[in-house]
């Protein structure tokens, strides 16, 4: 119960941040990616603000033994840059550059983005489903 309310609250704060910073507007994101055009560096200030708070906040949080509602902190331990990571980042970057939506803003724009956002989210869900199938069949061969 506590952890679900905590997640809802964290989601609200995240969505508020995306809204205030205008990252829910694809045109604003594309203006950042348009480095050689009429460049809008706002997204780098969003990243900067988020990074300062998170870098300090994480370090304070990790001085505690455990999170409030769970047994332990779940932080990825893998530090190895591999082909999957690189190819995944390329595919994501191309998709991001095509319309200016990444997963967070796409979800947040659901109530006011109309049919294009609904279509994008549907395609994104299909892309995730395709990955899950791919991951089970190819990347993790059945040991039998």
């Amino acid at each position: 119960m506590g952890r679900n309310i905590a997640a809802l609250f964290a989601g609200l704060v995240f969505g508020l941040g995306l809204t205030i910073s205008e990252m829910v507007n694809p045109a604003k994101v594309l203006a950042f990616l348009d480095l050689f055009g009429n460049w809008d560096p706002s997204l780098s200030f969003v990243m900067g603000g988020a990074l300062i708070v998170t870098a300090i906040g994480y370090r304070l949080v990790w001085t505690r033994d455990r999170p409030v509602f769970e047994e332990r902190f779940q932080v990825p331990g893998n530090r190895q840059v591999d082909t999957r990571l690189a190819i995944g980042a390329v595919l994501f970057g191309v998709g991001w550059g095509l319309v200016g939506l990444c997963p967070g803003p796409a979800i947040s724009a659901l109530t006011f983005g109309g049919a294009p956002v609904f279509l994008f989210l549907s395609a994104m869900a299909v892309g995730i489903g395709i990955f899950e199938g791919f991951d089970r069949i190819i990347a993790r061969p059945n040991p039998v």
Partner: protein, 141 residues
């Protein structure tokens, strides 16, 4: 650079960081939206509800903001269906294959100096900028 909005960008960014810190402090989790979202469907039972609640918060926030402000957030996006479908497929598949997106790698990963996240952010930013540059030259803009 007439559309540059450094103050609202920094405030919004700080809120995004606050959300990441809250989710770590309370639930011990990384606030990576692509992972949270796909896990709402594909995670193990018992690990789904908090993810759905986070997504609900993401959706509700701008709606609440619109009620308070009396106007919806500015929004401008292509209406080309083939482009949108291609982009959605690429973002869905790519973020899962690459284990994260702008939030998981960009905010949470960079803040803990993860080499994987540094590589991911450099690559997807580069790919995004290259895509915009190519799209503009193809469209003759």
């Amino acid at each position: 650079m007439e559309n540059f909005t450094p103050i609202s960008a920094s405030i919004g960014g700080a809120l995004i960081g606050l959300s990441a810190v809250l989710l770590m402090a309370l639930n011990g989790r990384i606030a990576g939206i692509s992972g949270v979202f796909s896990g709402a469907v594909f995670a193990e039972r018992g690990d789904k509800v908090w993810r759905a609640m986070f997504v609900l918060g993401l959706i509700a926030a701008p709606a609440l903001w619109a009620v308070v402000r009396g106007t919806e957030p500015p929004f401008e996006m292509t209406d080309s269906w083939p482009l949108i479908i291609a982009a959605g497929l690429l973002v869905g598949f790519g973020t899962r294959l690459g284990s994260g997106c702008t939030s998981g790698h960009g905010v949470c990963g960079l803040s803990r100096l993860s080499p994987r996240s540094m590589a991911s952010v450099a690559i997807f930013m580069g790919a995004g900028m290259a895509t915009v540059a190519v799209a503009k030259s193809v469209l003759g803009a």
